[in-house]
Protein backbone atom coordinates (compact mmCIF):
# COMPACT_ATOMS: atom_id res chain seq x y z
CA UNK A 1 0.00 0.00 0.00
CA UNK A 2 1.43 3.31 -1.01
CA UNK A 3 0.96 6.35 -3.18
CA UNK A 4 0.79 5.90 -6.94
CA UNK A 5 2.48 8.20 -9.42
CA UNK A 6 0.53 8.27 -12.65
CA UNK A 7 3.45 9.11 -14.93
CA UNK A 8 2.50 12.47 -16.35
CA UNK A 9 3.95 15.43 -14.53
CA UNK A 10 4.33 19.10 -15.13
CA UNK A 11 7.58 20.13 -16.75
CA UNK A 12 7.50 23.47 -14.99
CA UNK A 13 6.99 24.07 -11.29
CA UNK A 14 5.44 27.52 -11.39
CA UNK A 15 1.87 26.58 -12.12
CA UNK A 16 -1.10 28.84 -12.63
CA UNK A 17 -4.64 28.19 -11.57
CA UNK A 18 -7.99 29.85 -12.02
CA UNK A 19 -11.59 29.42 -11.04
CA UNK A 20 -13.55 29.28 -14.26
CA UNK A 21 -15.56 32.40 -14.84
CA UNK A 22 -18.23 30.50 -16.80
CA UNK A 23 -18.61 27.47 -14.55
CA UNK A 24 -18.68 28.82 -11.04
CA UNK A 25 -20.35 27.15 -8.06
CA UNK A 26 -24.02 27.99 -8.00
CA UNK A 27 -24.42 27.97 -4.20
CA UNK A 28 -21.01 29.15 -2.98
CA UNK A 29 -19.48 32.57 -2.72
CA UNK A 30 -16.79 32.73 -5.41
CA UNK A 31 -14.43 34.71 -3.20
CA UNK A 32 -14.64 32.19 -0.38
CA UNK A 33 -14.36 29.35 -2.87
CA UNK A 34 -11.16 30.77 -4.28
CA UNK A 35 -9.81 31.12 -0.77
CA UNK A 36 -10.49 27.45 -0.03
CA UNK A 37 -8.95 26.37 -3.33
CA UNK A 38 -5.86 28.47 -2.62
CA UNK A 39 -5.50 26.80 0.77
CA UNK A 40 -5.81 23.42 -0.85
CA UNK A 41 -3.06 24.22 -3.33
CA UNK A 42 -0.92 25.57 -0.55
CA UNK A 43 -0.90 22.11 1.02
CA UNK A 44 0.98 20.78 -1.99
CA UNK A 45 3.10 23.90 -2.34
CA UNK A 46 4.40 23.58 1.19
CA UNK A 47 5.53 20.02 0.57
CA UNK A 48 7.19 20.42 -2.81
CA UNK A 49 8.97 22.81 -5.18
CA UNK A 50 5.74 23.72 -6.84
CA UNK A 51 4.34 27.20 -6.70
CA UNK A 52 0.81 28.20 -7.59
CA UNK A 53 -0.25 31.58 -8.87
CA UNK A 54 -3.87 32.51 -9.33
CA UNK A 55 -4.70 34.11 -12.66
CA UNK A 56 -7.89 35.15 -14.40
CA UNK A 57 -7.67 33.02 -17.49
CA UNK A 58 -9.37 29.95 -18.92
CA UNK A 59 -5.91 28.91 -20.14
CA UNK A 60 -4.50 28.41 -16.66
CA UNK A 61 -2.68 25.16 -16.01
CA UNK A 62 -5.26 24.13 -13.44
CA UNK A 63 -8.73 25.35 -14.33
CA UNK A 64 -11.30 24.67 -11.63
CA UNK A 65 -14.95 24.49 -12.60
CA UNK A 66 -18.25 23.40 -11.12
CA UNK A 67 -20.70 21.49 -13.29
CA UNK A 68 -23.66 19.16 -13.13
CA UNK A 69 -24.28 15.84 -14.88
CA UNK A 70 -22.93 15.95 -18.47
CA UNK A 71 -20.40 18.71 -18.86
CA UNK A 72 -18.46 18.19 -22.09
CA UNK A 73 -16.24 15.38 -21.01
CA UNK A 74 -16.67 11.64 -20.87
CA UNK A 75 -17.16 11.58 -17.10
CA UNK A 76 -20.62 12.88 -16.23
CA UNK A 77 -21.56 13.54 -12.63
CA UNK A 78 -24.37 11.72 -10.91
CA UNK A 79 -26.20 14.30 -8.84
CA UNK A 80 -25.77 14.55 -5.11
CA UNK A 81 -23.75 11.75 -3.57
CA UNK A 82 -21.23 9.14 -4.72
CA UNK A 83 -19.09 10.93 -7.31
CA UNK A 84 -17.94 14.27 -5.91
CA UNK A 85 -15.35 15.49 -8.39
CA UNK A 86 -12.63 14.46 -10.79
CA UNK A 87 -9.47 15.96 -12.18
CA UNK A 88 -7.20 15.34 -15.13
CA UNK A 89 -3.56 14.46 -14.99
CA UNK A 90 -0.96 17.01 -16.12
CA UNK A 91 -1.00 17.78 -19.79
CA UNK A 92 -2.08 20.28 -22.39
CA UNK A 93 -5.57 21.57 -22.92
CA UNK A 94 -7.73 19.86 -20.30
CA UNK A 95 -4.73 18.43 -18.47
CA UNK A 96 -4.59 19.51 -14.83
CA UNK A 97 -8.18 20.77 -14.78
CA UNK A 98 -10.42 19.88 -11.85
CA UNK A 99 -14.21 19.53 -12.07
CA UNK A 100 -16.49 19.54 -9.05
CA UNK A 101 -20.06 18.28 -8.96
CA UNK A 102 -22.23 21.35 -8.47
CA UNK A 103 -25.06 19.19 -7.17
CA UNK A 104 -23.11 18.39 -4.01
CA UNK A 105 -23.67 20.26 -0.77
CA UNK A 106 -20.22 21.87 -0.55
CA UNK A 107 -19.08 23.18 2.81
CA UNK A 108 -16.45 25.88 3.05
CA UNK A 109 -15.97 25.52 6.79
CA UNK A 110 -17.16 22.05 7.75
CA UNK A 111 -17.87 21.17 11.34
CA UNK A 112 -17.02 17.82 12.79
CA UNK A 113 -20.65 16.86 13.06
CA UNK A 114 -21.52 17.86 9.51
CA UNK A 115 -22.42 14.51 8.04
CA UNK A 116 -24.56 15.62 5.15
CA UNK A 117 -22.28 18.14 3.48
CA UNK A 118 -18.90 17.65 1.84
CA UNK A 119 -15.79 19.60 2.69
CA UNK A 120 -14.65 21.47 -0.40
CA UNK A 121 -11.16 21.78 1.03
CA UNK A 122 -10.82 18.01 1.56
CA UNK A 123 -11.98 17.18 -1.97
CA UNK A 124 -9.98 20.00 -3.55
CA UNK A 125 -6.72 18.83 -1.98
CA UNK A 126 -7.41 15.34 -3.33
CA UNK A 127 -8.30 16.52 -6.83
CA UNK A 128 -5.29 18.79 -7.04
CA UNK A 129 -3.20 15.75 -6.25
CA UNK A 130 -4.50 14.31 -9.53
CA UNK A 131 -3.81 17.62 -11.27
CA UNK A 132 -0.18 17.24 -10.24
CA UNK A 133 0.11 13.61 -11.39
CA UNK A 134 -0.80 11.46 -8.42
CA UNK A 135 -3.14 8.53 -8.80
CA UNK A 136 -5.22 7.00 -6.05
CA UNK A 137 -3.58 5.48 -3.02
CA UNK A 138 -4.82 2.46 -1.14
CA UNK A 139 -3.54 3.89 2.14
CA UNK A 140 -6.49 4.76 4.34
CA UNK A 141 -5.96 8.22 5.73
CA UNK A 142 -3.92 9.38 2.74
CA UNK A 143 -5.23 12.36 0.84
CA UNK A 144 -5.20 10.34 -2.38
CA UNK A 145 -7.38 7.60 -0.94
CA UNK A 146 -10.32 7.62 -3.35
CA UNK A 147 -13.18 7.57 -0.85
CA UNK A 148 -14.17 10.75 0.97
CA UNK A 149 -12.72 10.95 4.48
CA UNK A 150 -13.40 14.54 5.43
CA UNK A 151 -10.68 16.65 6.99
CA UNK A 152 -9.51 17.20 10.53
CA UNK A 153 -9.15 20.63 12.00
CA UNK A 154 -5.45 20.03 12.70
CA UNK A 155 -4.76 18.78 9.21
CA UNK A 156 -1.24 17.79 8.27
CA UNK A 157 -0.25 16.37 4.89
CA UNK A 158 0.04 12.60 5.37
CA UNK A 159 3.39 11.03 4.80
CA UNK A 160 2.22 8.87 1.92
CA UNK A 161 1.12 11.91 -0.05
CA UNK A 162 4.21 13.88 0.89
CA UNK A 163 6.41 11.06 -0.38
CA UNK A 164 4.45 10.93 -3.60
CA UNK A 165 4.61 14.61 -4.44
CA UNK A 166 8.24 14.90 -3.45
CA UNK A 167 9.17 11.95 -5.61
CA UNK A 168 7.75 13.81 -8.57
CA UNK A 169 8.77 17.39 -7.93
CA UNK A 170 11.30 17.27 -5.11
CA UNK A 171 11.04 18.66 -1.62
CA UNK A 172 10.57 22.33 -0.91
CA UNK A 173 13.84 24.21 -1.16
CA UNK A 174 15.26 25.87 1.93
CA UNK A 175 16.61 29.18 0.65
CA UNK A 176 18.20 30.15 3.90
CA UNK A 177 21.73 31.47 3.29
CA UNK A 178 24.23 32.88 5.69
CA UNK A 179 25.75 36.19 4.75
CA UNK A 180 29.48 36.32 4.28
CA UNK A 181 30.78 39.78 4.88
CA UNK A 182 34.51 39.76 4.29
CA UNK A 183 34.97 43.46 4.90
CA UNK A 184 32.30 44.78 7.08
CA UNK A 185 31.91 48.52 7.57
CA UNK A 186 29.17 49.82 9.77
CA UNK A 187 26.77 52.43 8.53
CA UNK A 188 27.22 54.44 11.67
CA UNK A 189 29.86 54.31 14.33
CA UNK A 190 28.19 54.06 17.67
CA UNK A 191 29.08 56.81 20.13
CA UNK A 192 31.28 55.98 23.05
CA UNK A 193 29.84 56.74 26.38
CA UNK A 194 30.37 55.84 29.95
CA UNK A 195 26.74 55.96 30.82
CA UNK A 196 24.11 53.54 29.82
CA UNK A 197 20.44 53.72 29.11
CA UNK A 198 17.82 51.77 30.82
CA UNK A 199 16.95 48.46 29.36
CA UNK A 200 13.76 49.72 27.77
CA UNK A 201 15.64 51.74 25.20
CA UNK A 202 17.77 48.90 24.06
CA UNK A 203 16.81 48.11 20.52
CA UNK A 204 16.18 44.82 18.92
CA UNK A 205 19.07 43.27 17.23
CA UNK A 206 18.49 42.67 13.57
CA UNK A 207 19.72 39.62 11.81
CA UNK A 208 22.71 39.88 9.61
CA UNK A 209 22.21 36.96 7.35
CA UNK A 210 20.20 37.35 4.18
CA UNK A 211 17.28 35.14 4.75
CA UNK A 212 14.54 35.05 2.15
CA UNK A 213 11.97 34.12 4.70
CA UNK A 214 12.38 37.35 6.52
CA UNK A 215 10.43 38.98 3.76
CA UNK A 216 13.26 40.63 1.95
CA UNK A 217 13.87 38.37 -1.01
CA UNK A 218 16.03 40.69 -3.08
CA UNK A 219 17.97 42.28 -0.35
CA UNK A 220 21.22 43.55 -1.83
CA UNK A 221 24.45 42.23 -0.49
CA UNK A 222 26.17 45.56 -0.37
CA UNK A 223 27.70 45.60 3.07
CA UNK A 224 27.49 49.38 3.23
CA UNK A 225 23.76 49.08 3.23
CA UNK A 226 23.59 46.54 5.94
CA UNK A 227 21.86 47.62 9.05
CA UNK A 228 23.85 48.84 11.96
CA UNK A 229 24.75 46.25 14.47
CA UNK A 230 23.14 46.60 17.77
CA UNK A 231 24.61 44.88 20.72
CA UNK A 232 23.07 41.79 22.02
CA UNK A 233 21.87 41.58 25.52
CA UNK A 234 22.83 39.34 27.14
CA UNK A 235 25.93 38.28 25.33
CA UNK A 236 25.87 35.08 23.26
CA UNK A 237 29.24 34.18 21.83
CA UNK A 238 29.11 33.61 18.04
CA UNK A 239 25.44 32.74 18.12
CA UNK A 240 24.73 33.95 14.59
CA UNK A 241 28.05 33.37 12.93
CA UNK A 242 28.50 29.63 12.87
CA UNK A 243 29.13 29.50 9.14
CA UNK A 244 31.80 32.05 8.88
CA UNK A 245 35.43 31.81 9.73
CA UNK A 246 36.00 35.52 9.96
CA UNK A 247 36.33 37.12 13.29
CA UNK A 248 33.30 38.71 14.76
CA UNK A 249 33.58 42.28 13.46
CA UNK A 250 32.24 43.83 16.57
CA UNK A 251 34.85 42.27 18.73
CA UNK A 252 37.58 44.06 16.92
CA UNK A 253 35.95 47.27 15.82
CA UNK A 254 33.88 48.36 18.71
CA UNK A 255 34.51 49.30 22.26
CA UNK A 256 31.17 49.25 23.87
CA UNK A 257 31.00 50.18 27.48
CA UNK A 258 31.01 47.07 29.55
CA UNK A 259 29.00 46.74 32.63
CA UNK A 260 29.46 43.89 34.93
CA UNK A 261 26.28 42.69 36.50
CA UNK A 262 25.86 40.77 39.68
CA UNK A 263 25.80 37.57 37.73
CA UNK A 264 29.05 38.44 36.12
CA UNK A 265 27.47 38.47 32.72
CA UNK A 266 28.77 41.13 30.45
CA UNK A 267 26.10 43.35 29.02
CA UNK A 268 26.57 45.72 26.14
CA UNK A 269 24.20 48.57 26.51
CA UNK A 270 25.27 51.56 24.53
CA UNK A 271 22.88 54.32 24.02
CA UNK A 272 21.46 54.80 20.60
CA UNK A 273 19.02 57.62 20.36
CA UNK A 274 17.48 56.46 17.14
CA UNK A 275 17.37 53.66 14.77
CA UNK A 276 18.79 54.37 11.38
CA UNK A 277 16.46 54.04 8.47
CA UNK A 278 16.51 50.75 6.80
CA UNK A 279 16.87 51.03 3.08
CA UNK A 280 13.84 50.09 1.11
CA UNK A 281 14.63 47.10 -0.93
CA UNK A 282 13.15 47.34 -4.33
CA UNK A 283 11.20 44.36 -5.38
CA UNK A 284 10.28 45.09 -8.93
CA UNK A 285 9.41 41.60 -9.87
CA UNK A 286 7.60 40.60 -6.73
CA UNK A 287 4.07 39.71 -7.80
CA UNK A 288 1.24 41.48 -6.08
CA UNK A 289 -1.15 39.10 -4.47
CA UNK A 290 -4.40 39.93 -6.19
CA UNK A 291 -6.42 38.50 -3.36
CA UNK A 292 -5.41 41.16 -0.86
CA UNK A 293 -7.03 44.09 -2.56
CA UNK A 294 -9.69 42.38 -4.50
CA UNK A 295 -13.10 43.57 -3.38
CA UNK A 296 -15.56 40.80 -2.77
CA UNK A 297 -18.23 42.41 -4.91
CA UNK A 298 -16.15 42.62 -8.05
CA UNK A 299 -16.30 39.33 -9.77
CA UNK A 300 -15.25 38.42 -12.39
CA UNK A 301 -11.96 40.25 -11.95
CA UNK A 302 -10.94 42.79 -14.50
CA UNK A 303 -7.84 44.28 -12.88
CA UNK A 304 -5.61 41.29 -12.73
CA UNK A 305 -1.96 41.78 -13.43
CA UNK A 306 -0.78 40.45 -16.67
CA UNK A 307 0.03 36.82 -16.54
CA UNK A 308 3.72 36.12 -16.98
CA UNK A 309 4.74 34.35 -20.08
CA UNK A 310 4.21 30.65 -20.14
CA UNK A 311 4.86 28.40 -23.07
CA UNK A 312 1.73 28.09 -25.08
CA UNK A 313 -0.40 25.05 -24.67
CA UNK A 314 -1.02 23.31 -27.94
CA UNK A 315 -3.83 21.48 -29.56
CA UNK A 316 -7.46 21.22 -29.10
CA UNK A 317 -10.07 22.64 -26.79
CA UNK A 318 -12.87 20.52 -25.45
CA UNK A 319 -15.50 22.60 -27.15
CA UNK A 320 -15.11 22.94 -30.85
CA UNK A 321 -15.68 26.54 -31.95
CA UNK A 322 -18.14 27.34 -34.64
CA UNK A 323 -16.35 27.02 -37.97
CA UNK A 324 -16.09 30.22 -39.97
CA UNK A 325 -18.30 30.72 -42.95
CA UNK A 326 -16.62 29.10 -45.91
CA UNK A 327 -16.36 31.01 -49.17
CA UNK A 328 -18.44 29.42 -51.86
CA UNK A 329 -16.49 28.52 -54.99
CA UNK A 330 -18.11 29.89 -58.08
CA UNK A 331 -17.91 26.71 -60.02
CA UNK A 332 -16.50 23.27 -59.65
CA UNK A 333 -13.65 24.13 -61.96
CA UNK A 334 -12.52 26.82 -59.59
CA UNK A 335 -11.63 24.24 -56.98
CA UNK A 336 -8.10 24.54 -55.71
CA UNK A 337 -5.64 22.98 -58.04
CA UNK A 338 -3.80 21.11 -55.32
CA UNK A 339 -3.76 17.79 -53.53
CA UNK A 340 -3.18 19.52 -50.23
CA UNK A 341 -6.76 19.45 -49.00
CA UNK A 342 -9.13 17.96 -46.44
CA UNK A 343 -12.68 16.65 -46.58
CA UNK A 344 -15.86 17.21 -44.63
CA UNK A 345 -17.19 13.67 -44.85
CA UNK A 346 -16.43 10.38 -46.52
CA UNK A 347 -18.97 7.57 -46.77
CA UNK A 348 -19.44 4.24 -48.46
CA UNK A 349 -22.91 4.21 -49.98
CA UNK A 350 -24.16 1.30 -52.05
CA UNK A 351 -20.60 0.10 -52.37
CA UNK A 352 -19.39 3.39 -53.82
CA UNK A 353 -17.25 6.01 -52.23
CA UNK A 354 -18.80 9.43 -51.68
CA UNK A 355 -16.48 12.26 -50.68
CA UNK A 356 -17.95 15.54 -49.46
CA UNK A 357 -16.26 18.91 -49.37
CA UNK A 358 -17.97 22.25 -49.01
CA UNK A 359 -21.07 22.28 -51.23
CA UNK A 360 -19.82 19.56 -53.50
CA UNK A 361 -19.33 15.85 -53.51
CA UNK A 362 -17.51 13.28 -55.59
CA UNK A 363 -18.67 9.79 -56.38
CA UNK A 364 -16.09 7.12 -57.04
CA UNK A 365 -17.12 3.68 -58.21
CA UNK A 366 -15.41 0.55 -59.37
CA UNK A 367 -14.24 2.31 -62.54
CA UNK A 368 -13.07 5.48 -60.89
CA UNK A 369 -14.67 8.87 -60.62
CA UNK A 370 -18.08 9.19 -62.16
CA UNK A 371 -18.43 11.72 -64.95
CA UNK A 372 -20.21 14.90 -64.07
CA UNK A 373 -18.61 15.04 -60.63
CA UNK A 374 -18.00 16.93 -58.48
CA UNK A 375 -21.61 17.85 -58.20
CA UNK A 376 -23.44 20.06 -55.75
CA UNK A 377 -24.75 18.05 -52.84
CA UNK A 378 -28.17 19.65 -53.13
CA UNK A 379 -28.51 18.36 -56.69
CA UNK A 380 -28.33 14.81 -55.45
CA UNK A 381 -30.31 15.38 -52.26
CA UNK A 382 -32.58 18.25 -53.13
CA UNK A 383 -34.31 18.33 -49.75
CA UNK A 384 -31.20 19.65 -48.09
CA UNK A 385 -31.13 23.39 -47.36
CA UNK A 386 -30.50 25.47 -50.45
CA UNK A 387 -27.97 27.61 -48.60
CA UNK A 388 -25.98 24.56 -47.61
CA UNK A 389 -22.29 25.30 -47.20
CA UNK A 390 -21.07 21.88 -46.10
CA UNK A 391 -22.14 18.69 -44.36
CA UNK A 392 -20.76 17.38 -41.07
CA UNK A 393 -21.11 13.63 -41.34
CA UNK A 394 -22.64 11.10 -43.72
CA UNK A 395 -23.14 7.36 -43.34
CA UNK A 396 -25.27 4.58 -44.75
CA UNK A 397 -27.46 2.85 -42.22
CA UNK A 398 -27.91 -0.91 -42.03
CA UNK A 399 -31.34 -0.46 -43.60
CA UNK A 400 -29.62 1.30 -46.54
CA UNK A 401 -31.03 4.70 -45.69
CA UNK A 402 -28.55 7.55 -45.99
CA UNK A 403 -28.05 9.74 -42.93
CA UNK A 404 -26.65 13.24 -43.42
CA UNK A 405 -25.80 15.39 -40.40
CA UNK A 406 -25.80 19.14 -40.76
CA UNK A 407 -25.32 21.12 -37.58
CA UNK A 408 -27.82 20.02 -34.99
CA UNK A 409 -30.05 18.20 -37.48
CA UNK A 410 -30.21 14.79 -39.05
CA UNK A 411 -31.58 14.30 -42.56
CA UNK A 412 -32.51 10.75 -43.47
CA UNK A 413 -32.94 9.78 -47.11
CA UNK A 414 -34.22 6.77 -48.90
CA UNK A 415 -31.98 7.11 -51.90
CA UNK A 416 -32.68 10.73 -52.87
CA UNK A 417 -35.96 11.18 -51.05
CA UNK A 418 -36.23 12.67 -47.61
CA UNK A 419 -38.12 10.43 -45.23
CA UNK A 420 -41.17 11.83 -43.45
CA UNK A 421 -40.47 13.42 -40.08
CA UNK A 422 -37.02 14.60 -41.08
CA UNK A 423 -34.93 16.59 -40.46
CA UNK A 424 -34.83 15.72 -36.77
CA UNK A 425 -32.78 17.37 -34.05
CA UNK A 426 -29.84 15.44 -32.64
CA UNK A 427 -31.54 15.39 -29.26
CA UNK A 428 -34.06 12.93 -30.70
CA UNK A 429 -31.20 10.48 -30.97
CA UNK A 430 -30.42 10.89 -27.30
CA UNK A 431 -27.50 13.21 -27.92
CA UNK A 432 -27.04 16.14 -25.52
CA UNK A 433 -28.66 19.49 -26.13
CA UNK A 434 -25.27 21.20 -25.93
CA UNK A 435 -23.87 19.22 -28.85
CA UNK A 436 -23.43 21.62 -31.76
CA UNK A 437 -22.58 19.13 -34.46
CA UNK A 438 -21.17 15.71 -35.18
CA UNK A 439 -17.76 15.20 -36.68
CA UNK A 440 -18.26 11.74 -38.11
CA UNK A 441 -20.47 8.67 -38.09
CA UNK A 442 -20.10 5.09 -39.20
CA UNK A 443 -21.43 1.58 -38.82
CA UNK A 444 -18.62 -0.54 -37.44
CA UNK A 445 -18.69 -3.96 -39.02
CA UNK A 446 -16.82 -5.57 -36.15
CA UNK A 447 -19.95 -5.49 -34.02
CA UNK A 448 -22.49 -3.99 -36.35
CA UNK A 449 -22.99 -0.95 -34.14
CA UNK A 450 -23.23 2.66 -35.19
CA UNK A 451 -20.84 5.22 -33.72
CA UNK A 452 -21.09 8.99 -33.61
CA UNK A 453 -18.03 11.16 -32.98
CA UNK A 454 -17.79 14.74 -31.88
CA UNK A 455 -14.87 16.59 -30.36
CA UNK A 456 -13.28 14.43 -27.71
CA UNK A 457 -16.21 12.06 -27.30
CA UNK A 458 -18.05 9.33 -29.08
CA UNK A 459 -21.41 7.58 -28.66
CA UNK A 460 -22.70 4.16 -29.58
CA UNK A 461 -26.06 4.41 -31.28
CA UNK A 462 -28.70 1.69 -31.17
CA UNK A 463 -30.34 1.64 -34.59
CA UNK A 464 -33.27 -0.35 -33.26
CA UNK A 465 -33.99 1.83 -30.26
CA UNK A 466 -33.22 5.02 -32.13
CA UNK A 467 -31.19 6.37 -29.21
CA UNK A 468 -27.62 6.38 -28.09
CA UNK A 469 -26.80 3.78 -25.48
CA UNK A 470 -26.42 4.48 -21.80
CA UNK A 471 -22.92 4.84 -20.38
CA UNK A 472 -21.99 7.14 -23.24
CA UNK A 473 -20.34 9.42 -24.26
CA UNK A 474 -16.88 8.00 -23.83
CA UNK A 475 -13.52 9.49 -24.51
CA UNK A 476 -12.11 9.27 -28.01
CA UNK A 477 -8.85 8.12 -26.47
CA UNK A 478 -10.35 4.62 -26.64
CA UNK A 479 -9.57 4.72 -30.36
CA UNK A 480 -5.85 4.83 -29.74
CA UNK A 481 -3.82 7.01 -32.05
CA UNK A 482 -6.81 8.84 -33.50
CA UNK A 483 -6.82 12.46 -32.48
CA UNK A 484 -9.75 14.49 -31.29
CA UNK A 485 -12.00 16.51 -33.59
CA UNK A 486 -11.79 14.19 -36.55
CA UNK A 487 -13.32 15.03 -39.91
CA UNK A 488 -14.68 11.69 -40.96
CA UNK A 489 -14.58 7.92 -40.55
CA UNK A 490 -15.81 5.04 -42.61
CA UNK A 491 -15.19 1.39 -43.34
CA UNK A 492 -13.89 0.56 -46.73
CA UNK A 493 -14.65 -2.59 -48.67
CA UNK A 494 -11.40 -4.11 -47.48
CA UNK A 495 -12.94 -4.30 -44.00
CA UNK A 496 -10.61 -1.70 -42.52
CA UNK A 497 -11.69 1.43 -40.74
CA UNK A 498 -10.24 4.75 -41.84
CA UNK A 499 -10.23 7.91 -39.76
CA UNK A 500 -9.78 11.26 -41.49
CA UNK A 501 -8.49 14.37 -39.88
CA UNK A 502 -7.20 17.42 -41.65
CA UNK A 503 -5.29 16.51 -44.77
CA UNK A 504 -4.46 12.99 -43.71
CA UNK A 505 -5.99 9.74 -42.60
CA UNK A 506 -5.17 6.76 -40.38
CA UNK A 507 -5.82 3.13 -41.06
CA UNK A 508 -7.25 1.63 -37.89
CA UNK A 509 -6.69 -1.89 -36.56
CA UNK A 510 -10.07 -2.94 -35.24
CA UNK A 511 -8.87 -5.82 -33.11
CA UNK A 512 -6.01 -3.97 -31.47
CA UNK A 513 -8.08 -0.81 -31.20
CA UNK A 514 -5.24 1.39 -32.39
CA UNK A 515 -4.03 2.97 -35.60
CA UNK A 516 -1.59 0.92 -37.60
CA UNK A 517 0.79 3.84 -38.10
CA UNK A 518 0.97 6.88 -35.91
CA UNK A 519 1.93 9.06 -38.86
CA UNK A 520 -0.97 10.13 -41.02
CA UNK A 521 -0.99 9.47 -44.74
CA UNK A 522 -2.22 12.18 -47.12
CA UNK A 523 -5.85 11.64 -48.06
CA UNK A 524 -6.13 13.19 -51.51
CA UNK A 525 -3.50 11.15 -53.36
CA UNK A 526 -4.80 7.85 -52.02
CA UNK A 527 -8.56 8.33 -52.05
CA UNK A 528 -8.99 10.84 -54.86
CA UNK A 529 -6.14 9.70 -57.06
CA UNK A 530 -4.85 13.24 -56.88
Amino acid sequence: KRFAVQGAKWKHTNLTWSLSSTRRPSLLDPYETRSVLARALDVWEQASRLTFTEVNSEEADILVSFAKRYHDDAYPFDGRGTILAHAFFPGVDRGGDAHFDDDELWLLEPKDDDEEGTSLFAVAVHEFGHSLGLSHSSVKGALMYPWYQGIQSNFVLPEDDRNGIQQMYGPKLNNKKWARIPSYKPVQTPPTTTTTTTTTTTTRRPYIHHNRHHGVPNMPRDPSRNPVYYPRRPYYPDRHYHNTTEDHPRRTNYNYPRIETTTHAITYRPRYPYKPEYPSYPRPNYPVDPRQDYPKQDYPRSDYPKRPYYPEKTTTTTQRPTPPQRPTPTSPSDKPNTCDTNYDAVALIRGELFIFKDRYHWRIGAHGRYPGYPMEITRMWSSLPKNLTHVDAVYERPDKHIAIFIGKELYLFNSQYLLPGYPKPLTKLGLPETLEKLDAAMVWSLNGKTYFYSGTMYWKYDEDEGKVELDYPRNMAMWKGVGYNIDSVFQWKDGNTYFFKGKGYWKFNDLQMRVEHEQQLPSAPFWMGC
Binding site: F77, G81, L84, H136, S138, W147, W444, D471, M513
Partner: protein, 97 residues
Protein backbone atom coordinates in the same frame (compact mmCIF):
# COMPACT_ATOMS: atom_id res chain seq x y z
CA UNK B 1 -45.05 -2.08 -6.77
CA UNK B 2 -44.29 -5.75 -6.74
CA UNK B 3 -41.27 -6.67 -4.63
CA UNK B 4 -38.38 -8.22 -6.45
CA UNK B 5 -37.37 -11.75 -5.79
CA UNK B 6 -34.05 -12.53 -4.18
CA UNK B 7 -32.63 -13.68 -7.49
CA UNK B 8 -33.73 -10.48 -9.17
CA UNK B 9 -32.23 -8.36 -6.40
CA UNK B 10 -28.98 -10.28 -6.66
CA UNK B 11 -28.85 -9.81 -10.39
CA UNK B 12 -29.58 -6.13 -9.98
CA UNK B 13 -26.81 -5.76 -7.39
CA UNK B 14 -24.42 -7.58 -9.64
CA UNK B 15 -25.24 -5.39 -12.63
CA UNK B 16 -24.76 -2.19 -10.71
CA UNK B 17 -21.59 -3.59 -9.13
CA UNK B 18 -20.27 -4.45 -12.54
CA UNK B 19 -20.93 -0.93 -13.74
CA UNK B 20 -19.16 0.44 -10.68
CA UNK B 21 -16.15 -1.81 -11.23
CA UNK B 22 -15.90 -0.80 -14.88
CA UNK B 23 -16.26 2.86 -14.09
CA UNK B 24 -13.44 2.84 -11.57
CA UNK B 25 -11.10 0.58 -13.47
CA UNK B 26 -11.45 -2.72 -11.69
CA UNK B 27 -12.97 -4.41 -14.71
CA UNK B 28 -11.28 -3.72 -17.96
CA UNK B 29 -13.05 -1.41 -20.36
CA UNK B 30 -10.15 -1.24 -22.77
CA UNK B 31 -11.97 -3.27 -25.44
CA UNK B 32 -15.61 -2.84 -24.61
CA UNK B 33 -16.73 -2.83 -28.21
CA UNK B 34 -15.47 -6.33 -28.78
CA UNK B 35 -16.24 -7.51 -25.26
CA UNK B 36 -19.42 -9.24 -26.23
CA UNK B 37 -17.61 -11.13 -28.94
CA UNK B 38 -14.93 -12.34 -26.57
CA UNK B 39 -17.39 -13.30 -23.89
CA UNK B 40 -19.22 -15.83 -26.02
CA UNK B 41 -18.35 -19.29 -24.84
CA UNK B 42 -16.11 -17.98 -22.09
CA UNK B 43 -18.49 -17.26 -19.26
CA UNK B 44 -16.31 -18.98 -16.66
CA UNK B 45 -13.44 -16.56 -17.07
CA UNK B 46 -16.00 -13.75 -17.22
CA UNK B 47 -17.20 -14.70 -13.73
CA UNK B 48 -13.65 -15.11 -12.50
CA UNK B 49 -12.82 -11.62 -13.70
CA UNK B 50 -15.76 -10.31 -11.71
CA UNK B 51 -14.66 -12.02 -8.51
CA UNK B 52 -11.10 -10.86 -8.98
CA UNK B 53 -12.32 -7.32 -9.52
CA UNK B 54 -14.40 -7.49 -6.34
CA UNK B 55 -11.41 -8.72 -4.39
CA UNK B 56 -9.24 -5.97 -5.79
CA UNK B 57 -11.82 -3.39 -4.81
CA UNK B 58 -12.08 -4.83 -1.31
CA UNK B 59 -8.34 -4.80 -0.90
CA UNK B 60 -8.02 -1.26 -2.19
CA UNK B 61 -10.81 -0.07 0.04
CA UNK B 62 -9.44 -1.72 3.14
CA UNK B 63 -12.42 -4.01 3.82
CA UNK B 64 -12.34 -7.79 4.30
CA UNK B 65 -11.40 -9.51 1.07
CA UNK B 66 -14.05 -12.13 0.42
CA UNK B 67 -14.60 -11.99 -3.31
CA UNK B 68 -18.32 -11.76 -2.61
CA UNK B 69 -20.64 -8.84 -3.09
CA UNK B 70 -21.34 -8.60 0.63
CA UNK B 71 -22.81 -5.77 2.66
CA UNK B 72 -19.43 -4.17 3.38
CA UNK B 73 -18.64 -4.06 -0.33
CA UNK B 74 -22.00 -2.59 -1.22
CA UNK B 75 -21.59 0.04 1.48
CA UNK B 76 -18.16 0.90 0.10
CA UNK B 77 -19.67 1.36 -3.35
CA UNK B 78 -22.25 3.76 -1.97
CA UNK B 79 -19.71 6.01 -0.26
CA UNK B 80 -18.85 9.42 -1.62
CA UNK B 81 -15.67 9.29 -3.66
CA UNK B 82 -13.56 10.78 -6.41
CA UNK B 83 -14.70 10.16 -9.98
CA UNK B 84 -11.30 9.09 -11.28
CA UNK B 85 -10.69 5.36 -11.74
CA UNK B 86 -8.61 3.67 -9.10
CA UNK B 87 -6.82 1.68 -11.70
CA UNK B 88 -5.76 3.31 -14.94
CA UNK B 89 -5.81 1.70 -18.36
CA UNK B 90 -2.12 0.98 -18.42
CA UNK B 91 -2.59 -1.17 -15.32
CA UNK B 92 -4.91 -3.36 -17.36
CA UNK B 93 -2.36 -3.59 -20.14
CA UNK B 94 0.35 -4.59 -17.66
CA UNK B 95 -1.88 -7.20 -16.04
CA UNK B 96 -2.71 -8.71 -19.41
CA UNK B 97 0.92 -8.81 -20.49
Amino acid sequence: APTRSRATRTAHHERSARGYLETFGYLSKSRPEVGNLIMDGNEQSYEDDFRIAIKTLQEFGGIPVTGELDAATRNLMKQKRCGRPDREEQDHENRRS
